[in-house]
């Protein structure tokens, strides 16, 4: 009896699911089989059809072709209500909470509405809510407004609410995106406990380490097609990346091939302090990539802001090319040749509704304009063309708004914009957050190439892997202080783990 042949042990079996939107095939015949009680990971790059299949399973979309069985029972047409009745619950990335209402109401609404009650009975609300939080031993003030809670708690509200409806299969759509490491650990403990209680989890993610840590089996999609389904133990990290992208990545090779071209001292920071960090000193040379590694709240973001003139230092010196400089605002930093690729590209880095061309050329408008200040459209397009091609931005037309691009391509646009200004010091804060593997690899390679050409780069990140792959040196920040420095020879996952704990 094969593990994948036994119908009785399946909680969900979707076969040959096809779905098109306006002639575009989002799913070209996808199979998804999930065993009862397992943690199943659904992986794939952006646009591979992950969210479409979730919406089909939960009844929000109707497939063009294909069959869905839940616990052996066929559903020719699945509606959202039927899916919930069958025990399928989706925890969306936004958690579907009401920030303006209390935890109590957030927990109770679904059930009260499902029972078609018209009036509010506070006692009943409280009973439902207490029952919900008890399921995962979630301690929270039921009368608190949800908007005052941290992201992780909002997620736990969503999970306990899902459990109320006797969820048998919980689908979590990229649940770790907005969480800190600690919160992810807590979430994984809860997922493990749910599994113990017989709840099946479909964990949607493209983060390698998480998938290997938590899941029992994996289904990988690419371009709306199945690539592989197998137990997680049968797959390696390299294969995982290959299956997701269809490309081979040899990160070890990248690192080995690192050409070193370290030149003169470019930037020196001496005892710099600002709200968020204190007494930070380091040097950065031409052709060098310095990693600044630290958790959320370690002062890493504040440091990057201070070096770009967005945060006023209270003490210390910034010395660039041997001269002490003051950075009262972004314009000065810009003129000195400092560029920052910010942490949150959506709100801080991009004009989402504007075209790719405008996003790339916005920092160079002065140069692209004629002497009386009129922008040359032709020049802009040429300039942007150069970067779109050079960075490998995947798009049909660069007049399209940036928001139509995937995360990785958006990040390439932000990078392209700053590179167009030919900076001397490039600071990147979380350069590959929310970016899929292929684009991440491209961005890392690009950084190496820029360093080889003599640019001085600072990579601010909480991703140890990223720092190891790209950096020559790393400093570690914790609670606003630099707590250690690791040289290139010693730069390894173990050393970073040791230093940051």
């Amino acid at each position: 009896m094969g593990r994948y042949g036994d119908m009785m042990s399946n909680i969900l079996c979707a076969k040959g699911i096809k779905k098109s939107f306006d002639g575009v095939h989002a799913l070209k015949g996808v199979d998804l089989t999930i065993n009862k009680g397992e943690i199943h990971c659904l992986a794939g790059e952006n646009g591979c059809g992950k969210s479409t299949i979730i919406k089909i399973i939960s009844g929000f979309y109707r497939p063009d072709e294909g069959a869905i069985e839940v616990a052996g029972k066929g559903f020719p047409v699945m509606t959202p209500t039927q899916a919930i009745k069958a025990g399928i619950q989706v925890i969306y990335q936004d958690f579907s909470v009401f920030p303006n209402l209390t935890v109590l109401e957030n927990l109770a609404f679904n059930q009260v509405l499902a029972n078609k009650k018209r009036l509010v009975n506070k006692k009943e609300f409280r009973k439902i809510a207490e029952e919900a939080v008890k399921k995962i031993n979630f301690e929270v003030d039921l009368d608190a407004l949800v908007e005052t809670l941290p992201v992780a708690d909002k997620q736990l509200i969503a999970i306990s609410r899902a459990l109320l409806d006797n969820a048998k299969l919980i689908i979590m759509d990229e649940p770790t995106t907005a969480l800190t490491k600690k919160e992810i650990k807590r979430l994984f403990e809860i997922i493990a406990a749910l599994k113990k209680n017989g709840v099946t989890i479909l964990f949607v993610s493209h983060k390698l380490d998480e998938v290997f840590e938590i899941s029992d089996s994996i289904t990988i999609l690419r371009n709306g097609e199945n690539v592989i389904s197998c137990p997680t133990s049968e797959i390696t990290e390299e294969k995982f990346a290959y299956y997701m992208t269809g490309r081979h990545f040899d990160t070890a090779q990248t690192r080995k091939n690192m050409k070193k071209n370290i030149g003169a001292k470019m930037l020196e920071v001496k005892n710099l302090s600002a709200p968020g960090f204190e007494n930070v000193s380091f040097e950065l040379h031409k052709g060098e990539i310095l990693g600044v590694i630290g958790q959320l709240g370690s002062g890493r973001t504040e440091l990057s802001l201070a070096l770009f003139g967005l945060l006023k230092p209270t003490d210390g010196k910034i010395i660039m090319e041997g001269k002490e400089v003051k950075l009262p605002n972004v314009n000065v930093a810009h003129k000195l040749g400092i560029a920052l690729v910010p942490e949150d590209r959506l709100t801080e880095g991009l004009f989402l509704s504007q075209s790719i061309v405008k996003n790339i050329t916005v920092c160079r408008m002065d140069e692209l304009a004629s002497s009386i200040g009129i922008l040359s459209n032709k020049k802009s397009v040429e300039e942007s063309d150069k970067w779109v091609k050079g960075m490998g931005v995947v798009t049909k037309n660069h007049e399209l708004p940036v928001q139509t691009l995937s995360g990785g391509n958006q990040q390439k646009v932000v990078l392209g914009r700053w590179l167009a200004t030919t900076p001397k010091v490039l600071i990147l804060n979380g350069p590959t957050v929310g970016v899929d593997i292929g684009a991440k690899y491209d961005i890392h390679n690009l950084l190496r190439k820029l360093a080889e050409e003599g640019m001085a780069i600072i990579v601010v990140s909480d991703d140890a892997e990223e720092v190891i792959e790209t950096c020559n040196r790393a400093i570690i920040m914790r609670s606003g202080y630099v707590t250690g420095e690791i040289s290139e020879e010693a730069l390894s996952r173990e050393a970073l783990a040791l230093a940051s704990n």
């Binding site: 959202p80 969306y92 936004d94 579907s96 909470v97 009401f98 920030p99 303006n100 209402l101 109401e105 609404f109 679904n110 009260v112 509405l113 499902a114 009650k117 018209r118 009036l119 509010v120 005052t148 941290p150 800190t180 600690k182 919160e183 958790q295 959320l296 709240g297 370690s298 609670s479």
Partner: protein, 340 residues
């Protein structure tokens, strides 16, 4: 059950509005000695009636969808139509039926707002601005509405008063009209609906997160449509009340009433982005602005300066709530830091 939590009270905008009201009334009293006079209080309550009914429209719209600026003209047009119909059929019975006429007309106009907003997902500000203009055009252009005497039922209602007082010192008198009860009634009904029915909670839920509300099982479209229909009805009631209190129908007096009402509601802590707003805040905000426009004259501040005062209060009031959400954000990031 609930403990008295002073810290929690400090977080509410309503509390600050309340403090300002007390302070202002004490200042006016100290300077003029006329604020706490019986006739002034009754005058104040009287002037509060129509704006505070309007405030319900503004509140419901803000919490669920966004600004509604059409209520003064729905009030004007539905009151006009109700009066015309009453006169045309020669009805002389209870004022209740006149209100029903107005409510029906108001609901139709509100339904027009609701239909456009729900069906085409247009911003409510634009839609209600547009319909306002249409209603105004119909009222003054098509119907050529002018000043009118009231039909008998409304006239009788206007002549009865709930309470009449006379200040022994100044000899000034004032009376509280029956419409005061209508306002109290509307507040009680709205309070019950908003807090004790699932539809009422849905109003807040959909203002908080529309997609979540849909996923939770609220009928988002029906609730939103219902709100604008209800707003039409409430505006119509306010419209008739206004004519009853002026003992005359004055078609041009309605226009422009929306801005100060919206300001009052925002001042009372209603969030412009939706999802947050209380009746308490609504009435306190309205009371404060009514006080400023009514009572500053008692301390000898000329009418033109009142507008300056109102402007300052609005800015300070909104600044307080903006400051609160700013500090709330800071506290959150602090907690995050500790957790990391």
């Amino acid at each position: 059950m609930k403990k008295f939590d002073f810290k929690k009270i400090l977080k509410h905008t309503e509390f600050y509005v309340f403090v300002i009201i007390i302070a202002l009334s004490l200042i006016i009293q100290a300077r003029s000695g006329l604020f706490f006079a019986n006739n002034n209080i009754v005058d104040l309550l009287r002037s509060l009636i129509v704006p505070s009914i309007y405030a319900l429209c503004a509140l419901l719209a803000f919490v669920s969808t966004g600004p509604d600026v059409s209520f003064p003209l729905i009030a004007a047009l539905s009151a006009y139509l109700a009066i015309i119909v009453t006169k045309a059929i020669g009805y002389t019975g209870s004022a209740f039926l006149v209100f029903i006429f107005a409510i029906i007309f108001g609901m139709v106009m509100g339904a027009l707002n609701g239909w456009i907003i729900v069906k085409y997902k247009f911003p409510s500000l634009i839609v209600t601005l547009g319909t306002s203009s249409i209603f105004n055009g119909i009222l003054l252009g098509a119907f050529e509405a002018g000043r009118m005497d009231l039909p008998q039922p409304l006239e009788r209602l206007g002549e009865t008063s709930l309470l009449t007082v006379k200040n022994a010192r100044t000899g000034l008198g004032s009376s509280l009209p029956m419409t005061f009860l209508i306002m109290i009634g509307l507040y009680i009904i709205t309070y019950l609906v908003l807090n004790y029915t699932m539809v009422g909670r849905g109003v807040y839920a959909l203002g908080g997160d529309e997609i979540s509300a849909e996923r939770a099982g609220f009928n988002v479209k029906a609730i939103r449509f219902g709100i604008f229909v209800a707003n039409g009805a409430i505006a119509a009631i306010a419209g008739v009340c206004y004519s009853v209190m002026s003992m005359r129908y004055l078609p041009t007096e309605y226009e422009g009433g929306e801005m100060i009402v919206i300001a009052a509601v925002i001042l009372g802590g209603t969030r412009m982005a939706g999802g947050v707003g209380t009746l308490k805040g609504c009435i306190l905000g309205t009371l404060l602005l009514t006080m400023v426009s009514n009572s500053l004259i008692l301390v000898g501040i000329p009418v033109s300066w009142q507008r300056v005062f109102i402007g300052v209060i609005i800015i300070i009031g909104t600044a307080i709530s903006a400051l609160q959400s700013y500090t709330a954000g800071r506290i959150k990031s602090k907690v995050k830091k500790e957790a990391a």
